[in-house]
Amino acid sequence: MNEILWKIGGEAGFGIKKAGLLFSKLLSRLGFSIFNYTEYPSLVKGGLNTFEVAFSDSQKSFLKKDIDVLVCLNEKVFNVSKDYIKPDTRVIFDPLTFKPEGEFIKVACPVSKILDKSGNSAIFSNMIFLGVTLFIFDFPIEKAFSLINDVFKGKSEEVISVNKKMISEGYSWAKENLGEKNRIKLNKVSELKKRAVLTGNDAFALGAVAGNCKLYAAYPMTPASSVLSSLALWQEKVNSVVVHTEDEISAVNMAIGASFAGVRSAVGTSGGGFALMEESISLAGITEMPLVMLLAQRVGPATGMPTWTEQGDLLFSVFAGQGEFPKIVLAPGDVEEMFELSMKAFNLAEIYQTPVIVLSDKFLSESYENIDVSLIKEIKDRVGIDRGKTSETFTKGYLRYKDSQDGISERVIPQKNGVFYQANSYEHLEDCHTTEDPKERIKQVNKRARKIKTYLKKHFSSPKFYGDKDSDIVFVSWGSTKHSILNAMKLLKSSNKKAGFIHFTHMYPLSTNLGSLFMDKNKRYVLVENNSTSQLGKLLRMELGVNIESKLLKYDGRPFLPEEIRDFALKI
């Protein structure tokens, strides 16, 4: 099995991400599985941008520690990556820019000379490096050209041909100067299935379209912003409306207004914007209005480290909004789960007429994976659209907040000459009018709370168990740490250590009979979380009375590498 890590880095503004994404799409078209991870500071120009492409001939690829090919547009990249270089790492650099020292395979490509000769500026160096890369892996250059034709569709002939030419130049240089021995031999892969290269945010945006979300309102905030730009770009094609509002408070209330009118709507933001939306989450709770919210977490508190990852807002989302009302929190672990759970979120919001929060983080929202297009379609058909007790007609004596066994009242979409009613932010009677009567208050509180019971019975998904049932160690985690842990388990297997993994995606409410999952005295349960206070640990203690002592926590803004988790497990 081949597991390769290719990393490119350079100053912001030099097409690091562009080159990385092109390479990933090429790999995907060739039949490899890919996983990308990008790091960049909260700056537009300057600063260091890196883009890692992990690829594999297996079903799924993921980050690893050791770099196989390192493309350095400047010395900084080399310096920050040094520790992950092995003797057979190919380090590609321009000797006219800097000369790295150390034990590894040096690929000194005179990029600036090539640029000078062709009269092109330094922004094309990424393409020359890409050409060298193609040679190293023996990838067909025509495939790269046809990809460029597709990706740059709509750009001028000139732009397309310069990019191609620079790739060719890099390739030719490598062919003349490197020879076969410097190539990395890969297993043959078959390119049978069409795969899409998607981030978690792309998956949310596609899930929104597939879920017939017609209004998306947002205020830009990293790492949620790309959902806004994708949906804005598609709005005419898919007959939706996307509004960049004056602030997040406006966004969430606009979505609630749309919901009242019968339109599926959503908002997306990060922690700061979510904080501003909180009062309206509570509004959606008492008015029983469907509301889907994407919360793409980043490092806090306050402005924190805007472009880095953290799972710091689990409890914030669980507790968001004043007062007591039902709320559903979901946390997909990868792109596939993101697509599925975002579609599901739109269904749950309408079925339970309450806010549904989809928790992501920078790592999931901005890392790319390739996934089978046929699988996306299969999920889309399977999840489908379920509007619950939403209806366009009404019967005489209709009561918007009528008490019911499952806690859910019929919701009639406003029609002209239909039955008017109000969505009341004050406590209300079944007929919507304001009340402070104790009996009516209890009736409505209990009615809303019953929705939780119904949800736990009908739509809650227990955490998934992965790995060996008879292991001594069981990782317990949630959301985007999924593949770090699954890959750590693979590594542990090769060190003859068995491991199990309980992965939560349906975070809240939690079914109270999950406690037994954590009761095996012969096992060591280990919480793995990208935060400093172990928020899942606290949630399990609060909801299930389960106390897990052992913890592996990371809160430096970086995701877990599988090797870190393996090393921790080997020590205990």
Binding site: R29, A196, N212, E236, V238, M254, G257, N424
Partner: protein, 282 residues
């Protein structure tokens, strides 16, 4: 044809003599006279004595959060632009807590009518100063008199993109009905600022105070410059204009959205096919 009875909900709980009574009646009369019915009208209420009209006026309505009625109404209008859409709230709600939505909501010329009960105090929370109070106004929260100068809704609306700006006096229902009717009939963002005596907590800006200062708007201005000069001049003369001050016909937000050419958003065909979108990711 609907009647005033169709629009009438619970008996209002406003203080006897409060200007809100006049506004409540005028809104209903305007809706009836325009041939609207409760089930063809969206209304979003703010939080305050004014917003309490939610239980007194029948409509498809949301009693929203303090300050948040404008974006809520915009979401409703974008989703079903065939519905007449009103916002009803207080000056504390719409100009204070929701000030950001007020100044930005206008920029898109959303076809909604915003009716503000301007009583220069917070009524429901029992008499603190509001943004429209004069400098020096003494209240529970400003016992020594407020140091702030008043917020100027008319000037802001005229310059910020509202395409209909009017002012009414709660003590004159006849002219108020006319102004509210033209505001609702106007296609675009309409503001009606209603000078509303709060008999319980504002002993300065009383019915008599307003009556002495009312000034009928001589004509509807169609340029911002004329409208603004008129409003500024009236203020320096210690006068309060009533009538339609500014009106301009411009395309509304939903008219500008090509997606909504043939259908309202809520009736637009399901377009959940993602196959062609996926192509760009391959």
């Amino acid at each position: 044809m609907s009647t005033i009875q169709d629009f009438t909900g619970y008996q209002p709980t406003w203080c006897p003599g409060c200007g809100n009574w006049g506004i409540g009646v005028s809104v209903k009369l305007a809706l009836v006279q325009l041939g609207l019915s409760p089930s063809s009208t969206f209304v979003v209420f703010g939080i305050g004595c004014s917003g309490n009209m939610n239980d007194f006026l029948n409509a498809y309505s949301i009693h929203s959060l303090h300050g948040r009625s404008i974006p809520t109404a915009i979401g409703m209008k974008i989703s079903n632009h065939e519905f007449t859409t009103l916002v009803i709230g207080g000056d504390g709600d719409i100009y204070g807590e929701g000030g950001n939505h007020f100044i930005h909501g206008m920029r898109g010329n959303h076809d909604i009518t915003v009716i503000v009960h301007d009583n220069r105090v917070y009524g429901l929370t029992t008499g603190q100063v509001s943004p429209t109070a004069d400098k020096g106004f003494k209240s529970k929260s400003t016992p020594q008199g407020t140091l702030n100068i008043p917020f100027k809704p008319l000037d802001i609306a005229i310059s910020q993109g509202a395409t209909f700006v009017g002012q009414a006096f709660a003590g004159d229902t006849v002219s108020m009905v006319k102004i509210i009717k033209s505001a609702i009939s106007h296609k675009g963002f309409s503001l009606v600022n209603v000078l509303q005596p709060c008999v319980s907590f504002n002993k300065v800006n009383t019915y008599a105070y307003y009556k002495e200062r009312l000034l009928n708007v001589p004509k509807v201005f169609t340029t911002k410059k004329e409208a603004l000069s008129f409003v500024i001049k009236a203020r320096s003369d210690d006068k309060l204009p009533v009538g339609v001050i500014f009106k301009k016909d411009l395309p509304t937000y939903t008219e500008m959205l090509t997606q909504l050419k043939n259908n309202t958003l809520v009736k637009s065909p399901k377009t959940t096919d993602i196959d062609s979108l996926l192509e760009e990711f391959i």
